[in-house]
Symmetry: C2
Subunit: 370 residues, 2 copies
């Protein structure tokens, strides 16, 4: 079995290095909710029942070939920081992070598949792929679903489909989403209109960590609202079409604003470079927002192409839990902001600011003219 | 006689290059209000009377040895931009800039003496010196006053002193002020308390362009409120003592905050470096605020000492009228903000950012990933 530190040391397969195709759509994610027949949902089950379900499901899950040598843990064995790291990496949900006994998580080595046991449902199968690959992500999740379906008795109703703890997941039990980077629509002030259009299509738009979280770094998550009355294929096709449209609007917006107001774009990117390169205190929200501008700069050819990969890595590594894990201990928000600034500055100096003439920390520190 | 362009090409003698002594107190200014006996004040005089006064006073003023080869003009001969430039350089007042026929201004070559004819009073004699040199500035103004007193009949009342158009100038007719740079008191949030203390001493605190202007760039102007009931020496001594105290508080605040929260100071200075070095659009207010941080950085040894002189020059050169004069024509605020950013960036690159890897404006301009 994989150790937590090994999991963290490696970026997930979908996190970095996918070139132009992730210019707008960073990742695609599909999760399937499944429950065991004749067993109470986790929220209603007693602790002993949950532990039994966990044991039973986990055993089957660990035998899936794709999950071999993966990371498998009960939530009660993880500390707050580890849980928080898994949430930031989208490998467990915020809901699951709040659970302990009788709840478990299994993640494959590439971190493209993650199975949550006894979250809201008995089982949630999640697959993540880079770029706009909803159907591919679905296929990946489906392969796990089909493997398990032979071994576990899933609650399924011929008319209602898969039964779930919350009625909003009833039917397909499928929630599919993509994470989009939309700085062009934000800079050109078209984002409000586009988001409104998406809502009208019966899709949901959320911030970077899902329901109830605000948008940061111009990152938006678009997902299906309804799980019932349509086939998985129909839902995925509609979502795929809308997300493809939004991605095209974004590219058009970038092109348009570079034609009509290149100075504004260069100013925003330049300021982001300057602040990330020279600040000594940076919050994670600020980091995401400025890294977003750098990523845009690399995408539209104002900054070196290498900047994009650095941004994608820093999007994750500058998040509070990742930052603390990396520095080996829990840190106060103040220390995090200082370490974050230094980490970003060090990374960016390689590509952006080869020679900063700010004198070193330890020289002339308290010298003051009188 | 000096041409306007020559005046503008050269910095005023008090503007740059006075080292550590201008670390807090940038300049000291004294102006004396004088009026001719038995002639209506400018606000009450008819146009013909004003023109006669102007002619009479100007002739005498131009004969003062210190004013030889200076800049002498009637306000009606100056366009709006030229007037605005003189206001930014503190050589005429905003009130005088609004006047035309019958109002004139004479400035000496070093720009340390400036005489306004038919502003609010018939004559205002202003002397400017670098650093905290109120008494020296007064001596300079006084020498002109004494020269003219022999040639012109000033309105003087044995009990009330010099008679002035506005009763708030009655008596000495003297307004003395210093411009202070107080980033340490602002960063350590002590500024409010210090300004309150100054008001209680019967002194006035104002923004960079005097009455009714807000503070920008952490620049504050401290001056005497009352002109009556005290000798010039008493007023100057009190002002000198209070300003000296404020300067010491500022230096203590800088030292204290570098001891208790050096990261905050370095963050503010670093961000200012980054934004000024990389932004493409900068308003004059923003420029002053960030240049203030750079100047602090040079004063406390975080940035190269050369930065200070660059800041002092840019404080003036980035102001709207100076910027437009330099580029040879009236500009829209948008163009000004772009030219300002470029001017500052170019200046700072020499000392701060020797190699910016932002690709050049004309290459890959509209390249966009698809």
């Amino acid at each position: 079995m994989m150790r937590f530190s090994t999991l963290l040391k490696n970026p997930a397969d979908w996190m970095v290095g996918h070139g132009a195709e992730t210019s707008v759509v960073l990742t695609s994610r599909v999760r399937l909710a499944r429950n065991l027949h004749d067993v109470p949902f986790p929220g209603w089950a007693r602790k002993r029942q949950r532990e039994e379900i966990l044991k039973q499901v986990k055993e089957k899950v660990e035998h899936i070939p794709a999950m071999r040598d993966g990371f498998s843990h009960e939530l009660s064995d993880l500390d707050q920081l580890q849980k928080h790291v898994l949430v930031e990496r989208h490998l467990i949900s915020r809901e699951q992070a709040a659970r302990n006994e009788g709840s478990g998580s299994v993640v494959n080595r590439k971190q493209t598949l993650s199975l949550m046991i006894n979250e809201e449902d008995h089982l949630r199968i999640q697959a993540i792929r880079p770029a706009l690959q909803l159907k591919e992500a679905y296929q990946l999740a489906l392969s796990v679903d089909q493997f398990l379906e032979e071994k576990l008795n899933f609650a399924y109703h011929s008319r209602w489909g898969y039964l779930t703890a919350c009625p909003t997941n009833l039917g397909t039990g499928m929630r599919a989403s993509s994470m989009l980077h939309l700085p062009g629509l934000v800079l050109s002030e078209q984002i409000g209109q586009v988001l409104k259009g998406i809502s009208k299509m019966g899709l949901a738009v959320r911030g970077i960590y899902g329901e109830g979280t605000e948008s940061m770094g111009n990152l938006y998550q678009i997902s299906n609202q309804s799980t019932l009355g349509e086939s998985e294929d129909a839902i995925l096709s509609r979502l795929d079409r809308v997300i493809g449209d939004v991605a095209r609007y974004e590219l058009q917006a970038r092109e348009k604003i570079m034609e009509t107001n290149p100075l504004k774009v260069r100013d925003q990117i330049g300021r982001a470079v300057g602040i990330l390169g020279y600040a000594h205190i940076i919050t994670s929200k600020e980091a995401l927002n400025y890294l977003s501008m750098l990523r845009l700069g690399a995408d539209i050819g104002i900054l070196e192409p290498e900047v994009k990969e650095i941004c994608d890595r820093l999007f994750m590594e500058t998040q509070p839990a990742h930052l603390q894990w990396r520095s080996g201990n829990k840190l106060s928000p103040e220390s995090r902001d200082a370490i974050r600034a230094k980490m970003i500055g060090d990374q960016l100096q390689k590509v952006l600011v080869p020679a900063i003439n700010i004198l070193e920390e330890n020289t002339n520190n308290s010298k003051s003219d009188s």
